[in-house]
């Protein structure tokens, strides 16, 4: 067996190292390591609860609104506040804008450039893929960046700026949308839709969102040549390389439910294992047995601790291993869509589980599903009705906030005592996906997904790179 250490990874957010044990040209075992510890959970201890609104989003420059949304929800729970409908809608729009911008960034800047590597120079699609997706030079990346920059004006209008808005408050949003501004918001969304329809998909968003089966997807793909749009080009590459055979995950999927519609989320909450089960937040445990953290039995995040132990033997990461009822679960766009019951997502998982293809496809599917929803949300603003309600955080409270970030389920657990934060624990999407082994020896989702991946020869570690990036990791959030 040969040991290979891969890192640093470019085109992922933050610091990642993967150690592979390779035998007979394939990965036999993988260890995933988060190499950065900043201790935000310790920084927050002793602070005034509302100050978490300023501290927590600064964990990450790419998942900032998700972090804001989770802390605002945890504080709202503590204060017994229910944001008014307008405030909720503004929050949904800002979170959706960040999530959609992230999906776009992942496709154009992080994931696709790997197919423009010289290792693929003999494939029939290579010249076009290189022209569109070569890192830092591809024409697709340039167009996507321009579109993304313009699209994020949505957060400027609703929340001042991206990243690190402070507009998302426990009682709603600090920025009431004026009547005429609804048109500005729609204009920004129309421009983004135009880019998606013309450049990414080459078709109407509603047509893409309505692709209800693998057969419908294949029929759509074959109706026009691969050069017609970036999505068709991706399908061509994916089919040629059979990337659906790469990166099979644990095939248990979790979603906290995305975009708060009041009664129920826009995308449902739950756990999918062939069928949907209700989500039991109380069944979450974080296991620190392989992290550079002090030993102890797995704890629910509400009782969680983060005490560094950099010399601990047997540890290989700063990341804890969250488990749901003892199970290793995968989170992200695919999990969200499978749990919500999108027919194409369900078929993808039924035929090949969570894999490189199904994860990337689910993100693109979400772009086609969510942007039209955002257009509808804008039209539901009621000028004249409140956006933000005042409230007080009590001197003592236990609360939590769950949201779906672009990369999956993000949870904050908060304890307040004598008017100060006494406990704050964060479990981020990539904490789930890139978790290490737990005390029972169960590998995390990426550790499982890497097993069997071919390594060496002409392709070297390129397939490993596809598997890693298919999760769209954010290492900055993972350990925080």
């Amino acid at each position: 067996m040969t040991r290979i250490v891969v890192g640093p990874f470019s085109r992922v957010e933050g610091d990642l190292e993967v150690t592979l044990e390779v035998e007979d040209g394939a990965v036999r075992e993988a260890r995933v390591s988060s190499q950065l510890f900043r201790g935000f959970e310790r920084i927050l201890i002793g602070k005034i609860p509302l100050d978490a609104l300023a501290v927590v989003p600064r964990i990450c420059g790419i998942c900032s609104v998700s972090q804001s949304s989770a802390v605002a929800r945890a504080l709202a729970g503590a204060a017994g506040l229910e944001p008014p409908k307008n405030g909720r809608t503004a929050g949904n729009l800002m979170l959706a804008a960040e999530n959609m911008a992230d999906h776009l960034t992942h496709f154009y800047l992080f994931f696709m450039p790997d197919f423009a590597r010289p290792a693929y120079s003999q494939r029939h699609w290579y010249p076009l893929v290189r022209q569109r997706f070569e890192a830092m030079r591809g024409s697709g990346g340039v167009e996507a960046l321009a579109s993304r920059a313009r699209f994020l004006e949505l957060v400027a209008i609703l929340g001042g700026k991206w990243p690190h808005t402070l507009a998302i408050q426990p009682g709603g949003s600090s920025r009431a949308v004026q009547r005429a501004e609804r048109v500005q918001l729609l204009l920004v969304l129309r421009e983004f839709r135009k880019f998606l329809e013309k450049t990414l998909f080459g078709d109407q968003l509603e047509r893409i969102a309505g692709l209800g089966s693998l057969a419908a997807l294949a029929g759509w793909r074959d109706a026009r040549p691969a050069a017609d749009s970036d999505f068709r080009l991706f399908l061509e590459v994916a089919g040629d390389l059979e990337i659906e055979k790469l990166g099979r995950g644990p095939d248990t999927f979790m979603s906290y439910g995305a975009y708060d519609d009041g009664d129920r989320p826009h995308f449902a909450a739950g756990v999918f294992e062939g069928e949907v089960h209700p989500l039991e937040q109380g069944a979450i445990r974080e296991d620190g047995s392989h992290a550079w953290l002090q030993e102890g039995a797995p704890r629910h995040p509400a009782e969680g601790l983060t005490q560094p132990a950099p010399d601990k033997s047997g540890a290989y990461t700063w990341c804890k291993a969250p488990r749901l009822g003892g199970k290793v679960v995968e989170v992200g766009a695919l999990a969200r869509q499978v749990v919500d019951g999108h027919p194409l997502a369900r078929q993808l998982v039924a035929s090949g589980g969570g894999n490189v293809f199904s994860r990337v496809l689910a993100r693109l599917l979400e772009l086609a599903l969510v942007v039209p929803a955002m257009e509808r949300w804008v039209s539901t603003f009621q000028p004249g009705e409140p956006f933000c309600l005042p409230g007080e955080i009590p001197d003592g409270a236990v609360s939590f906030g769950l949201v779906e970030a672009a990369r999956g389920s993000l949870g904050h657990w908060l304890t307040v005592g004598e008017g100060r934060i006494r406990g704050y624990q964060i479990v981020a999407p990539t904490t789930w996906n890139f978790s290490p082994r737990d005390g029972e020896g169960r590998c995390g989702p990426l550790e499982q997904a890497l097993v069997g991946t071919p390594v060496g020869g002409r392709l070297g570690e390129v397939l490993v790179q596809h598997v890693v990036r298919s999760f769209d990791p954010c290492m900055v959030c993972t350990v925080h």
Binding site: V6, G7, P8, F9, S10, R11, E13, D15, L16, E17, Q35, L36, F37, R38, G39, R42, I43, L44, I45, I48, L50, A54, V55, R58, G61, T105, L109, P113, A116, A135, M136, R137, V142, L145, A146, A149, R150, E153, A156, I157, L158, G159, G160, K161, W162, P163, H164, T165, L166, G172, S173, S174, Q178, P308, P310, P383, F387, C388, P390, E461
Partner: protein, 315 residues
């Protein structure tokens, strides 16, 4: 990531035409792993010329000075040590963001990782490289501070360096480029009329001035946020919340609740820069007594209830 919101079309090509080529960028570069380490090692040992080193994120010196809270993946070597070696070879060093400049949010609270900036620890000179460090041209670390940074602050600093148009006189006394740090966030604030009359917001989402009650430091914060604007059309004040002075060292520990103005006898402790307290008190009292009904009523609501009067001339 904030940098990628630049409104310069094809910003990477624009920089390239000015002579700025990225040797390696963690979020954008094609190469990973061994190839990336080869580039970094080449720069560190002097075989690859390194014109500008940009660091994002605080330097983590803990635990016990070992730097092990942040090891550069694939190398087994603390990032702190890599940064020290690379800085010795670079023609210029830029700290991108308040963490890399001063320690920032990473150094808040108990500072669990002994985080500091490249040449500052909070307001104190020193940091990783030490107070006397300078690049071969005589410049200290350039602190493009802010949390986040405005993309244009980064792009314009890089371009100015590439054009050879950037000397020590371009930096303020905290190492920040003066092209943005010589402005106050207050300049261009759309709530200026509320400020003039001290017509104040009392809760988040009110339209009034945020200085008196909600912690706003725009009159003391060095940046051009309300002149340049963010993501096409925004700023903190436009988003309905206080400026927390994120370009300044120590902003992460203001000594009071971020969104509440500390006061003594009803007067905010921190007054606008360059303003004598007696004058502030006198003017505030005078302007409060002169506040028009329109301004007073609009200050305490989410949307304008009294529009400005329209004057029709009668001939």
């Amino acid at each position: 990531m904030s940098f990628l919101c630049s409104d310069v079309s094809d910003v990477l090509r624009t920089l390239e035409t000015a002579g700025v080529n990225f040797l390696w960028h963690p979020s954008l570069s094609q190469v990973s792993g061994a190839e990336a380490i080869e580039i970094l090692e080449g720069c560190a040992n002097g075989t690859v010329p390194l014109d500008i080193l940009c660091l994002e994120g605080a330097v983590l010196c803990g635990p016990s000075g070992s730097g092990r809270f942040h090891v550069l993946s694939g190398t087994g070597i603390p990032t702190m040590n890599w940064v020290r070696r690379l800085a010795e070879r670079a023609s210029h060093v830029i700290a991108i963001g308040s963490c890399a400049a001063y320690g920032g949010m990473s150094s808040a609270g108990v500072n669990p990782t002994d985080a500091c900036g490249l040449q500052y620890h909070g307001e104190k000179l020193g940091g990783l490289l030490g107070a006397s460090w300078h690049d071969p041209s005589g410049l200290p670390v350039i602190n493009v501070s802010g949390c986040p940074v405005h993309p244009a602050w980064v792009v314009e600093t890089l371009l100015a360096l590439a054009l050879g148009d950037f000397g020590p006189a371009e930096l303020d006394q905290l190492g920040r480029p003066r092209f943005y740090a010589d402005q106050l966030v207050h300049h261009g604030c759309p709530r200026n009329e509320f400020y003039e009359f001290k017509a104040s917001a009392s809760k988040a989402s009110d339209l009034g001035c945020l200085m008196e009650n909600l912690g706003c430091k725009a009159t003391q914060a060095h940046a051009d946020c309300n002149i340049r604007l963010w993501n096409v059309s925004g700023s903190c004040l436009r988003g309905g919340y206080a400026c927390i002075n994120c370009t300044a060292p120590g902003f992460e520990e203001p000594g009071h609740e971020f969104a509440r103005t500390p006061k003594i006898a009803g007067i905010p402790i921190a007054l606008p820069v360059d303003m004598p307290k007696a004058w502030f008190v006198a003017l505030a009292a005078l302007s409060k007594s002169a506040t028009p009904r329109r301004v007073r009523e609009n200050a305490a609501v989410e949307r304008m209830v009294v529009p400005p009067a329209v004057r029709v001339s009668r001939k």
